[in-house]
Symmetry: C2
Subunit: 160 residues, 2 copies
């Protein structure tokens, strides 16, 4: 019998640590692509991995900024400066710092708030952030297939 | 400033709900494959989706049984009865029930315990279960690429 059904098992800091560990692995997947294949290779009409990376960048920083600061955000997946592998990695690293900075302002009570992100996706903050992480793992798994298909060994999945 | 740094933000029940929601989506991905492609289609020498499904089945039920009951388990990904789509879906549904049943015996304190699963992977129970879920999302993302490559529209990712 579960005698502590109303208590909780994950801290805010643990959730941040897991997200950033996942982001670290995704960064290694971006790095593993040659420049050309990052922007051009795809299977069955799906997006190249650069486009998936842009989606993840467009969600993480702006989404968390809306959550923490209440800013109005749109989902902007096409920035002209995101035009090279180097630029994507730079944006990735800037987002890493931005997430850490915004996270330090998050009260635990924030995770229960319902917020409509990007003007369209309404959910609790906890569920939105869980979606951010799961969506990243989902696309990264697709990136693994792309890497295999172009003959490159992806990083070990469990080296998160 | 985070004034509640030591409190927690996720309940055991929420974690179970998220795992089962992910498992429900994975079930729809298994269902979306034609029988032949489930067992034979692959890209770049990767495993067919049936093999990934067997890995997920071999981890979830036996892993949680070891966590809850302390049973000795090996990672057994090749059972002779897992030889058809129907058999995999049946095993999937049995695992759904098994997880719910085992979960009802989990105390919250269990999630902090360090356990060496399958005789080789030592981690806290929370991190092991997080790995179970993330590993499933990772392989399911690969299954999405397979489905696209054989001309089948996968279920919506966000309909978890």
């Amino acid at each position: 019998m579960n005698t502590t059904a109303n208590s909780n098992i994950l801290s805010s800091g643990d959730l941040l640590k897991n997200w950033q560990a996942n982001r670290g692995l995704t960064r290694r997947v971006i790095e593993a692509f040659p420049e050309k294949e990052l922007f051009e290779f795809s299977i069955a009409g799906m997006r190249p991995f650069s486009e998936m990376t842009k989606e993840l960048l467009a969600i993480a920083g702006p989404g968390l900024d809306q959550i923490v600061n209440g800013s109005d955000q749109i989902l902007d997946e096409e920035r002209t400066e995101w035009n090279s592998k180097e630029a994507l990695l730079k944006a990735w690293d800037e987002t890493t710092e931005l997430i850490n900075s915004l996270w330090s302002k998050m009260e635990d009570s924030k995770f229960e708030e319902r917020i409509k992100l990007f003007g369209q996706y309404e959910n609790t903050v906890f569920d939105s952030i869980t979606y951010f992480v799961e969506n990243e793992i989902h696309h990264r798994g697709q990136g693994y297939v792309y890497l295999r298909a172009i003959g490159i060994e992806p990083p070990f999945f469990w080296e998160k």
